[in-house]
Symmetry: C2
Subunit: 705 residues, 2 copies
């Protein structure tokens, strides 16, 4: 963790610069080189501001420097807005001046092809050699709202500054980062800083996340990303945010086939398989948002909760409405989002019925439009729900009431005491109305959500984040050091043997070279057994009589041995036969598939799913980053749709989940230890036997480099 | 269809009244009895307006009548806003006056319990006996925007009148109907009429849908509902809208367990099983929205398309953005929504590369921020996409550009020629910005969507509706008249026989009373066969040796006969044994489950799913209303997640889908013909054999009343 911490610290001069230069400063305050100069001055940046432009005497009224090296005062950060052909020499001059961070708007690098790629590599070299950090190139810049460093040419700041707050936003895409910023601003979200990373020649999304994870003004981190170059650094950044108990919400695009293709052509780089990102986010409690609205809504909720208290870790939610219909709809959405709509205690229900005789009181609570006759009913309802029901979150639906000044104020007055009394609970309202009235509610600590159904999804996301923060990181994988394997090919028997040694139980088996050896092996293993020819030259073993099942006696084993030899030799006269495998005949249990793939960015990843249609037709599989412990493995097992089959569905015996979890963990440790050699592992099937009976890998393939 | 048409016509005087009376009119323009009187006068209703209040001389400046019967002029519609205790006499007086429609705000009926239920029944009687239509009671009223009939006490009209347009909104819930109305108004949606139906003592959601389906000013019908009392009428209403080619979007709540419970307590009535509604909507091309935002967004899009052209019937969509990142994100959402993001033709891509060398041109098209240097690039991109790509819909992402006056106007100018040239395509824009600028775009025929990901879902919904409209209603079920069954119990053999006669092929089988009969039966059926004891007294037949599989010879059949008899008699000495069933041994194929359930509201419903885990663990089943033809059955088959198993997944043979579809259709016809007697049918399993080999019902249970 020391690496990422040190690395994050080097971004500080960029976010808190003592002096700023604009290289390629423009006199026109609407041009790329003019906009930030205008922002710094208009919006009150208090350090030194220097314009560099060799062709002018003044820029926007400021004296112009010929070169950045001519500036006397300290320049921690410089914006580079020069044409691409001048970029390298300008960057070199900035490094010479001692600039700590270069924010590079200039485009014409990797995104335009080979020539640009070469220039970008030169930029990378300058960063490496001089220690000057480079943001971009081809980026939209960044801002730090607290000290008015608006180092961007985005026009989105022309039509409204952000509210200063506790959300840090990082985006690889400039255009989309700016979009999310405006979305949040419209939503009343308060920002600490926003950073766009563009081509990421040096500063990555990961480092920005790490910076925000250590920034005292940032409580919540929101991120938009398309891919990642350095998996290790990204993991460390997320781990740092997790340790520092900061909620992280990430929109990673490129989930679909078309999307992935578009992303590849957009970023022109290796980005890691999309499903692997799910595994990364899962590990570090980062919530994956699917839409920009979700990203901003969840950040907004987390932001509010971090300000007023903490995010609750439970999952128990109450709904209170002025419309029974809305209550039903929200209950639908709550169930779908996995929230626990536990009913109110009986005595609370009786009390609420006293307040409004025709109220729905179970949960959802429908206090009906009667509240307009007596607003204290709202206070009493919310207080009773929170005090006696012990809910983690309450959401009130008040429709379009904010359109009326009088009603709006009365509802707000009735709710303020509730907010004050329960600062540690989520208190959300689904309302529509004019922006100013919404702000009135927000100023008193209420969190406002627009659509009542989407609101339930948002609340579920926030509570999931809260649960993850409360639980803390998974304990690391333990256990013995796994065997190291060589960079050569392994046949099935060798593969199963090495995996068995690593803690992945193979079915008992022995290789026999004669009928007598087969008989001895069977006696040792215990009947019934199966027998299978071992030969690299025979692929479809069953088709040529190379497999015999369910053999229950010594005689049957002898007969089978001879029959297999005869049939296989007849079918494949030239095949080299290594012998015949005698193995325990396994019956019962549930077939699972375990796999390892080596992701180019994140290294070995373990896959788990059930056999047959589950994996092949329903794509019901899950991934986790290697290595992981049994607790994470258990979550992995529970996360597949077919889990009921392992849990005693349809009257079957419950499977040995504990041993399965241990097996997955051992596989992940093995894969991690051999990450430099192993490219993939496929254990198919691994039979999960009834509780107490463990598991048995029936077949395994290990591929090395 | 004549019933529903005639019934819909009787709502005309309510929506287009020649004169209006307010019964229980209040002098206070903010009270329930005062608000509509104010609305009628302020908002320009042009017919006679009469205030009835026996305790006053004037009401809001109008002369007050003692009774509705004192009014001389015609009163087509009267609002009833009197206390519950006066409701019956007031309704009677209205009927006496010849009022055609009574809009009943008064509450205190079925929603308060038994006493209210009795009063409500009396109201129903008045409607039935006099022909006066009654809306409500306990409703929020309705409005017809075109003739300024704002017959509601909802305050939502105080803060803004609706735009007059082509969307009719119907809601069972007053509060939520009003909420949706405001949502739509904020969204710029134009309304023809909005109706809330409350307790539905007389006028139902179905009739309102039917009315709007025949209303020349309504193109699109949006509906919120919690349940339905008269399934037949509801089906007829949806069929009418479908025939008249009007898009219907419905939010039906109560999908979840908690939601259903809350709905039941809220509406206090039988509402039909939720999944059955899916079947109803599917049949009549009504799109089911899950959230209020979805309801309004889809209605908005359909509204716009109906105004400018028609809704396209294809599924081919192009995305054009100023942000590559947004393009990737939208591609993800498009794929998830099932849209076809076909790539642009090569020559079009080459042309777009000429315009912007670094553009992404495949689809999504990323014309990059370069367009700000030359706005004609926007025009050229959209034209090329539409002209050469043949897309049904194009969506442009322009982020927050509407915040700049200049940019906004230039983009609009660049897009107007495109809108004019392609009126029949969906042309949507995902933008954020000030409301007024959004209106500028909408006035030129552009459809605006907020979140770019949600936009893809909305477009998919609209295109699905368009495809359904183009395809038209399913052809009805054909085929021979099925056998009628008696109201008695049927054993397995009888059940399979009657279903076989109805067209649901059973596996060949015969009941044998002696070993010789069994041998003859087997010879007739063809080997191999299975044999099974037939006795109502023996439940677990396999456990006592009552089942023998895979018998391949006459000898084996004889031996099996004797063994079954001996074993079963020993295990159950007192059992009455009807004989032994000899049946064809079926191997291979895919096991399906077919069922019939009789829904209290919609009658017999056919269920289809695959056997085992698919139905029991994954709940992968689908429902359709009986009867239906083979085309609808085929859609039913394709709609389950496990469909690949029937379609040759994992290298298996493709199953006989045609015969399966025919079987489902025959089952639906049989269930419909016997709807008064049959309560449920369970065919489990029905084996679907490889193409050409048909299906075989292996077991069947029919339950009668």
């Amino acid at each position: 963790m020391t690496d990422i911490l040190a690395s994050a610290q080097t971004l500080k001069p960029m976010l808190e610069p003592r002096g700023i230069a604009v290289l390629g400063a423009s006199d026109d305050p609407t041009k790329i080189g003019g906009v930030p100069l205008r922002y710094f001055r208009e919006y009150g940046y208090e350090g030194g501001i220097y314009a560099v432009n060799p062709t002018r005497d003044t820029v926007q009224g400021l004296p112009a420097y010929k070169s950045v090296t001519d500036i006397e005062g300290p320049v921690d950060m410089a914006i580079m807005a020069v044409p691409a052909r001048l970029a390298i020499e300008t960057a070199e001059a900035a490094a010479e001046k001692g600039v700590k961070a270069l924010c590079t708007f200039t485009s014409g690098f990797a995104e335009i092809g080979e020539e640009g790629q070469r220039a970008q590599e030169r930029l990378a070299e300058i960063a490496r050699d001089t220690g000057m950090r480079i943001l971009g190139p081809n980026c939209l810049g960044y801002f730090n709202a607290r000290n008015h460093v608006y180092a961007t040419f985005s026009t989105s700041l022309s039509h409204g500054l952000p509210k200063v707050g506790n959300v840090g936003l990082v985006s690889q895409s400039g255009a989309f980062g700016s979009h999310c910023f405006v979305l949040g601003r419209e939503r009343g979200l308060g920002y600490s800083a926003c950073i766009t990373t563009g081509n990421e020649v040096d500063i990555s999304v990961a480092e920005c996340i790490a910076y925000l994870a250590t920034d005292e003004h940032t409580d919540v981190i929101a991120c938009y990303m398309e891919g990642c170059q350095d998996g290790e650094m990204f993991k460390q950044a997320l781990a740092l945010a997790y340790e520092n108990k900061k909620p992280v919400v990430i929109q990673k695009v490129g989930r679909s086939a078309v999307g992935t293709e578009a992303a590849a052509s957009h970023t022109a780089s290796l980005t890691g398989a999309d499903q692997v990102f799910d595994a990364v986010f899962e590990r570090y409690n980062a919530y994956r948002a699917n839409t920009a609205s979700e990203l901003i809504d969840i950040a907004y909720m987390c932001s509010g909760m971090c300000q007023s208290g903490t995010i609750p870790s439970g999952n128990k939610v109450a709904i209170a409405t002025i419309s029974g219909g809305a209550g039903v709809m929200m209950a639908d959405a709550a169930e779908e989002a996995g929230l626990d709509l536990a009913p109110l205690p009986d005595k609370t229900q009786a009390y609420l019925k006293e307040l409004v005789p025709f109220a729905g009181t179970r949960n959802p609570v429908d206090f009906t439009a009667q509240v307009y006759n007596d607003y204290s009913v709202i206070t009493k309802n919310f207080e009773a729900i929170l005090e006696e029901g012990g809910y983690d979150a309450v959401i009130g639906f008040f429709s379009s009431l904010l359109y009326s000044d009088t009603v709006s104020q009365k509802v707000l007055d009735s709710l303020i005491p509730v907010r004050k009394a329960y600062p540690d609970r989520v208190l959300a309202l689904s309302v529509i109305g004019p922006d100013q009235r919404k702000r009135d509610f927000e100023d008193e600590g209420f969190l406002l959500l627009h659509d009542p159904s989407e609101a339930m999804k948002t609340i579920s996301a926030v509570l999931q984040i809260g649960a993850g923060l409360a639980r803390g990181p998974y304990p690391p994988a333990g256990g013995a050091t796994p065997p190291a394997i060589e960079n050569r090919s392994y046949n099935e028997i060798e593969a199963k043997a090495v995996l068995d040694a690593a803690g992945i139980a193979a079915s008992p088996e022995k290789l026999a070279g004669t009928a007598a050896e087969a008989e001895m092996a069977a006696a040792e293993i215990g009947y019934p057994v199966v027998m299978k020819v071992v030969s690299a030259d025979i692929v479809h073993k069953s088709d040529v009589g190379g497999v015999k099942l369910n053999l229950s006696s010594a005689g049957a084993v002898r007969t089978a041995y001879d029959a297999i030899m005869t049939d296989c030799t007849r079918a494949h006269p030239d095949a080299k036969i290594d012998g015949i495998l005698v193995a325990k005949m396994i019956s019962g249990g549930v077939e699972a598939i375990l796999g390892v793939q080596r992701d180019p960015v994140f290294g070995p990843v373990v896959m788990f799913g059930l056999g047959g249609i589950f994996t092949e037709v329903l794509k019901d599989v899950t991934f986790r980053l290697a290595p992981f412990g049994e607790e994470e493995a258990m979550d992995m097992i529970r996360s597949i749709k077919g889990f009921p089959l392992l849990d005693g569905a349809r009257g079957a015996a419950k499977c040995d989940q504990a041993v399965l979890a241990k097996t997955l963990s051992r596989l992940s440790v093995f894969a991690d230890a051999n990450r430099d050699v192993v490219t993939s592992i496929d254990i198919n099937p691994l039979v999960v036997l009834p509780e107490g009976d463990g598991v048995a890998a029936l077949d395994a393939v290990i591929l090395t480099e």
